[in-house]
Symmetry: C2
Subunit: 477 residues, 2 copies
C-alpha cells in the first residue's frame, strides 16, 4: 500500500471512528444476532485477488457492525468494562505501525525503557513500594499465572524448574489459598502449572464476601498436618462477582509467618487506589510478593495491558529465563530483557498506549473520572435501596452494584432466580443497556459496573429506568 | 477527547505514520543508544495535569524515535522479521477503537465469527484438513504452550487437571521429544506445565539439521524401558536457527504408533506453504494433532497474532475450560466461546487485522511476495557461495541464510567465532542493516532473514555490500 493510499484510508478510518465515538450511544449495546449470522455473511474461501481498501472498510459497516457488542458504549455495564479511550487508541495505532517486538532491550530500547518509565509512574500513582519491579502481560489471567509460577519456583531446593513435579516422591502436594470469591484464572493457573484444581483451596468469606483470615490459618494448619505444602495465597482487591476487598494486611501477617507467596489480584480494584480517599483498598499490598493491576480495565487503556508488580523479580526470572543462542545479546550490556520473565517471546510495544493515556488525562484527570464512577455507583445503589421492589445483594466498595428484583410477598428463591435471569435477558435484548450477572449465596444477581470513560449520570439513570420498565412488564406480563 | 480532537490528532498521526513508512529506509535500523538513555529523557513522576495531545505526539519524535529498533525497516534482517503492513495497521486501529473482549460469543459475536471465518481461510491457504479447529493466541510461545498442555491432558485417566502431578505415585515422569533445533518456547512450556526441563528430550538431527526419526524411535524405546511415559513430539517446520524442516510424515508414523501427541511448530515456516511449489513444507502436517502458524511472522499481519490449529479441540477445551457463574451465558445458545480454550480471558479482536491483510493482498498477492522472498534469499546464498571469503553454514529451505566469513588459511574456529561476532556488531552499529546470529555446530553464524514486505533486491544487495566492506575493514584493521 502506497503512503498516499495509507493516508487516504487512514484518514477515512479515523473519521469513521470519530463518528462512531460521537454517536456510539445511538447503537444497540448488544446486537440482535444468532450464532452463525455473521459467519454466513462472509465468503467461505479466501479472496484470490487483492481487494480495494475502500471495499474492505465498507464491509465493516455491512458485516462487522451488525454483530458488535459495543464495549465502548456508555451503557455497557457488564463484566468489567474497559475503555478504548481516544488517546489510548492513538497509542495502539502507533504501536501497530512500529510493530516492534520488545523481547530484548536491543530489539527495541524505547519499548523496554518506556515500559520501565510508565510502570514506575503507575506504581507511584498506586503508592506501591519503589522496589517493585513491573512487567506488562496481555491480561490479568496471565499476570496471575506468572505470579503463581513464581510462587511455585520459590522452593528452589525442589528443582521444579529442572525436574518437574511428576514421578517424584520428594515433592509433596502443594496448596494455594484464595477466597471463594477468587477469580477463575487462579484455577486455570493451577491446572496449567501441573498443580491440579485440587491444589486450590477456597477459604470462607465473611458477610461482606471478604476472606476470613482465621479460616485461612485453620486451612493452612490442617493442610500442614497431613503433609501438604502450602505455598501461595491469592488475596483479591475487587472480586469479580461483587468487588469485595480481602483484608490484605491480615493475610500478609499470615503469609509472612507461614512463608507463603502473597499475590494480590487487584486487576480491577487496584485502579481505585489512584483516588486518594480510596488508597486504603491497597492497604497491606506493600507487603505482597506480587500484585496485578490492569490498566485496560479501569484506567482507560485499550485491551490488552495488564501489569504485574513483584518485589521478587529474581524468582520470576529464575522460573522462566531461558536464553538460546539466537537470542543472546552483546555481552557487557546490562539491561532488562523482558522476555526473561515469562512465556511470551513476542512482546508488542504496549507501553505506548499507557504513556499516551497517563499523559493525556494526567493523574488529576484519571482521579476525577474514577471518583465520579464511584459516586455514580453509590447513586445507583441508593436508587436500588430506596425501591421497595429491588434489593441490593452486596456492599458497594467500588463501582459495581449487585442487586436483584425482589418484591414484597415473593420469597421463593428459585422463582426469583428465574425471574431475574429473564429480567436481565429482557434488558439486554432491548440493546439499550448491557448487564451481566453472578450468583451470590445462590441468588441470581444482576451486576451494574460503572467504569467506562463515557458513562455519565444520564446513562445510569436511563438504565435504571429500563430496568424498572422491564421489571413491571415481566412481573405483570 | 472530543470527536473533533480525535479527528485532528488521528489525521496528524496517520500522516506521521505515512511519512515514516515512506522514509523508513532513511532511518538507522538499530539506534545508537546505551541502556538508560531513553529512560533519562522521561520524567520520573507521572504528570499531575493532563497534557495536550500535540505535545505527546511531539515527544514521539523527541523521546521514542531515538531509541527505536525499526522492525519495519526494509534492511531489518534479524530474528524472524514481522511486517506491520499498512492494511494490518488499519485493522489494529479499528480493533483498538472497538476495544471488545471476545472471550465469549455473546461478548462480541463479530469477533468470534470473524476469527472462525479468517482461520478457515488461512487453513485453506495452507491446505490443512477441514476438521482442524483454529484459535488465535498472542504468539507462538503461547500456542505451543497450549498445545503441550493439551498433549498432557490426553491421559484423561491420570486426572492431571483435577489432581495435578505432585505428591502422586501413580503419575510417571512424562517425556516430550523435539530436535536439538526445536524452539526454546518448548522448554518454557515444559517448565510452566510442571513437567520440568528434563522432560524435554532433544533428538539428534541429520546434516541438514532435521530430526532423525530413527533417533526419535530409539529415544522413545529407551524411555519406555525405564518407566518414563512418552506423551508428545514437537516437530519443527522452519527452525529458528536455520529454518530446517523436520520430516513430519516420518515423525507422524512414529507418533501414531506410539500414541504421542504430534505438535508441529510451523510458526515461521508454515507461511511458505501458501506458495504452491512450497506446499511440501507441510507434508505430513495433515496428520498432526496440532500445528502453530504465526501470521504475524511472514504473513504481513502486525504483532500479535499466532494461530493454533488442532484436530482435537475437545482435549484443549477439557484442559482449560472453566466457566464461573459470572461468565455463564444464556442456556440454549450453542456457540464457540474462545475463552474455553486457554489461559487468557481477555481476547482482543485480532481477527480484524488478519481479515484486512488477507483481503487487501489476496492469496495471489501474498504468494507473490513470499515467492520473491524465497528468490532473494537464494540470490543472497549464491553471493555467499560464490565468494571465496564467506561460507554458508546451512541449507536454505526457506528465506533465511546462515553464513559466516571464513577465508583461506584461517581454520581456527575460536578466532572465527570471535571475528564473526565482531563483524555482526560492526554491521549493526552502522545502522545500515540489522542481522542476528545463532550457533550451528559450535560456529558463530550470521543469519539473514528475508521476509519483510518492503525488502527488495536492492536492500539485500546493499546489506551484502555492507557485510563485505566491514569484513575487509575488520580483517585488515
Amino acid at each position: 500500500m502506497s503512503a498516499e493510499e495509507f493516508r487516504q484510508y487512514g484518514h477515512q478510518l479515523i473519521d469513521w471512528i470519530a463518528d462512531l465515538f460521537a454517536n456510539i450511544g445511538d447503537f444497540p449495546v448488544f446486537p440482535d444476532v444468532q450464532p452463525g449470522d455473521i459467519l454466513s455473511k462472509l465468503p467461505k474461501a479466501p479472496p484470490v485477488k487483492g481487494e480495494p481498501m475502500g471495499e474492505i472498510l465498507a464491509d465493516v459497516d455491512r458485516v462487522i457492525m451488525p454483530g458488535m457488542t459495543h464495549w465502548n458504549h456508555p451503557r455497557f455495564f457488564a463484566y468489567f468494562t474497559s475503555s478504548g479511550s481516544a488517546p489510548g487508541v492513538l497509542g495502539e495505532l502507533l504501536s501497530a505501525a512500529f510493530n516492534v517486538n520488545g523481547m530484548l532491550w536491543q530489539s527495541c530500547p524505547s519499548a523496554t525503557e518506556l515500559e520501565q518509565a510508565t510502570l514506575g509512574w503507575l506504581r507511584q500513582m498506586l503508592e506501591l513500594p519503589s522496589e517493585y519491579f513491573g512487567i506488562i502481560y496481555d491480561g490479568g489471567s496471565n499476570s496471575t499465572f506468572h505470579a503463581i509460577a513464581a510462587a511455585r519456583e520459590q522452593f528452589a531446593e525442589l528443582e521444579i524448574r529442572e525436574r518437574g513435579l511428576a514421578g517424584r516422591s520428594d515433592v509433596p502436594k502443594l496448596r494455594l489459598y484464595t477466597s471463594d470469591q477468587g477469580h477463575s484464572s487462579i484455577d486455570k493457573a493451577a491446572i496449567a502449572l501441573g498443580l491440579g484444581l485440587d491444589s486450590v483451596r477456597r477459604v470462607a468469606v465473611n458477610d461482606q464476601y471478604q476472606m476470613n483470615p482465621q479460616a485461612l490459618e485453620e486451612a493452612i494448619a490442617e493442610d500442614r498436618s497431613v503433609g501438604v505444602l502450602p505455598f501461595c495465597v491469592v488475596a483479591t482487591v475487587g472480586s469479580t462477582s461483587c468487588t469485595s476487598i480481602d483484608p490484605v494486611a491480615a493475610i500478609a501477617d499470615i503469609s509472612e509467618r507461614e512463608c507463603l507467596w502473597l499475590h494480590v489480584d487487584a486487576a480491577h480494584g487496584g485502579a481505585a487506589a489512584v483516588v486518594p480517599e480510596m488508597r486504603y483498598v491497597l492497604d497491606g499490598c506493600e507487603r505482597a510478593d506480587s500484585i496485578v493491576v490492569n490498566p485496560h480495565k479501569w484506567l482507560f487503556v485499550p485491551l490488552d495491558l495488564s501489569v504485574l508488580y513483584t518485589r521478587k523479580p529474581e524468582v520470576l526470572r529464575r522460573a522462566f529465563s531461558l536464553v538460546p543462542e539466537y537470542l543472546r545479546t552483546i555481552p557487557g550490556v546490562e539491561a532488562v530483557n523482558y522476555m526473561d520473565y515469562g512465556i511470551p517471546l513476542g512482546r508488542r510495544f504496549r507501553a505506548l498506549k499507557l504513556w499516551f493515556v497517563l499523559r493525556y488525562f494526567g493523574v488529576e484527570g484519571i482521579t476525577a473520572r474514577i471518583r465520579e464512577h464511584l459516586r455514580l455507583a453509590r447513586q445507583f445503589a441508593k436508587w436500588v435501596d430506596d425501591h421497595p421492589e429491588f434489593e441490593r445483594l452486596a456492599p458497594v466498595p467500588l463501582s459495581t452494584v449487585c442487586f436483584r428484583a425482589h418484591w414484597p410477598g415473593m420469597d421463593d428463591d428459585d422463582l426469583l432466580n428465574h425471574f431475574n435471569e429473564r429480567l436481565m435477558q429482557a434488558i439486554n435484548h432491548t440493546g439499550e443497556a448491557f448487564l451481566s450477572h453472578t450468583k451470590i449465596s445462590g441468588r441470581f444477581t444482576l451486576r451494574l459496573v460503572v467504569s467506562h470513560l463515557w458513562t455519565s449520570e444520564a446513562h445510569v439513570a436511563r438504565v435504571w429506568a429500563v430496568i424498572q420498565r422491564h421489571f413491571q412488564l415481566l412481573r405483570d406480563g
